[in-house]
Subunit: 238 residues, 2 copies
DNA sequence: GAGTGGTCTAGACCACACG
DNA sequence: GTGTGGTCTAGACCACTCA
């Protein structure tokens, strides 16, 4: 049969059924799937119901739909995920460890042209700059070098970032609308090595994160992690 | 007014309107949003239509809905994205560059216990192992060390991977169902350094990718990129 | 009980693709 | 023209929450 967990909503049953068939290879990538009308018959539900099931499968990237043509099993080269911008503090506490933040620098500066451009400001405009070392159980874990658009967080310089992380504070005061990430490996500079208590040139995982609000960029952060003390993981399911 | 691109579907208009209000800060995170009944009145559409708009906003993580309570503006700490498992060949060609793959190793081996476990096999079972160097315009870009579950791709060893990449081949023969990634920075080992034409110990970006089919794991790949020749980028929008 | 979201229905009109 | 998906409607029943 086909109904282990009964009492599931009809649209969900249709969806589950099709997902299972896709998983089984019953419909290999590119194959034509049953039309809405056929599913209406097969499941004895209304067309709106099967439509919702198929629409959600399409949104999840499991099938592709072409008006006037039909519904096709997708090439599953895409998998969707929800990426969370996590606060490092929460992340560390979640592991049951102790988090400490040392504010190495916190001031206003004049932005050189390239930085200003990425923050949507004019060259030489004032930006807030913070440099914070995060430690997990007293071991350096991340060096956070961050520039903030003053328009997005006017009170940035007045915060005590040994108590609340910039990430947490900024998520509060400046709703995030869009984000970009870049990840690369880089050798530690002399200054980075000193703060992180590693050797100069040692491999580091560097994440550059830029977040944008509705009207203007909010912040650009360069997060440097010593090799092997940090790893980005994520899992993806259909 | 509120209708730049007229002739938009009603559910999409409702959605766009709410998105714009969320973006404006009209509903700060946690704020109660209008009920379906109110939106029905306001837009003069049926409840199913506003329901769809709200349901999709919820799916996108823009709002949270609680039955019996209401709809609330979400904390935008989560941003969703679709991650694509791209074939390196396509990626390089898309840049207008030339891709070359050198097959350094391609054979069956006995899997040690830890590897076997991750591939869903018994210790000592046969696995396929390939080691391939990818070059972009004759410069080493990625060293791909890959283990494959023979059940998922029985003909793996018979392929010519200088012509078709393992990624491409496996996406064809074994529909991917789930994936896990880990990214870390690591110094190049002596062997890796030699193949990649870099110095031993140089910082490398290492991605370990495990893909799983419906019934069993398909493959585990360790992709090593020399520092500064590779960067992972992605952008996220609400 | 009143208000909320979750869902289903039966029918309808439309745009599109294909022969 | 026939079949496909895209969408909307008006009304309905239900489960849930809160007062």
């Amino acid at each position: 049969m086909d109904d282990p967990t009964a009492s599931l909503a009809p649209y969900a049953r249709v969806k589950r059924h099709l997902k299972a068939e896709l998983a089984d290879g019953r419909y290999p990538p590119g194959a034509l799937m049953p039309s809405e009308a056929e599913l209406v018959q097969q499941f004895g539900v209304s067309r709106m119901t099967v439509n919702r099931a198929l629409r959600e499968l399409a949104a999840e990237g499991m099938v592709e739909r072409l008006q006037g043509v039909g519904t096709f099993a997708a090439q599953l080269h895409k998998v969707s995920t929800t990426l969370t911008i996590r606060d490092l503090h929460e992340e560390i506490e979640a592991r049951g460890h102790h988090h400490e933040a040392r504010v190495l620098l916190l001031r206003a500066e004049r932005a050189p042209a390239p930085l200003a451009a990425r923050l949507g400001l004019k060259a030489g405009a004032e930006v807030f700059h913070s440099l914070i070392l995060h430690l997990e159980n007293s071991q350096p874990l991340q060096l956070e070098d961050r520039y903030v658009n003053p328009a997005a967080a006017p009170d940035y310089l007045a915060q005590d970032f040994s108590r609340v992380t910039p990430t947490h504070y900024l998520l509060d005061v400046a709703p995030l609308w869009e984000a970009q990430f870049a990840i690369e490996a880089a050798p530690a500079s002399a200054e980075e090595a000193q703060h992180l208590a590693i050797a100069e040139g040692e491999a580091c995982l560097v994440m550059v994160r830029r977040t944008v609000g509705q009207k203007a960029p909010i912040t650009i952060a360069r997060l440097v992690h010593p090799d092997s003390r940090y790893q980005i993981d994520w899992a993806i399911k259909p």
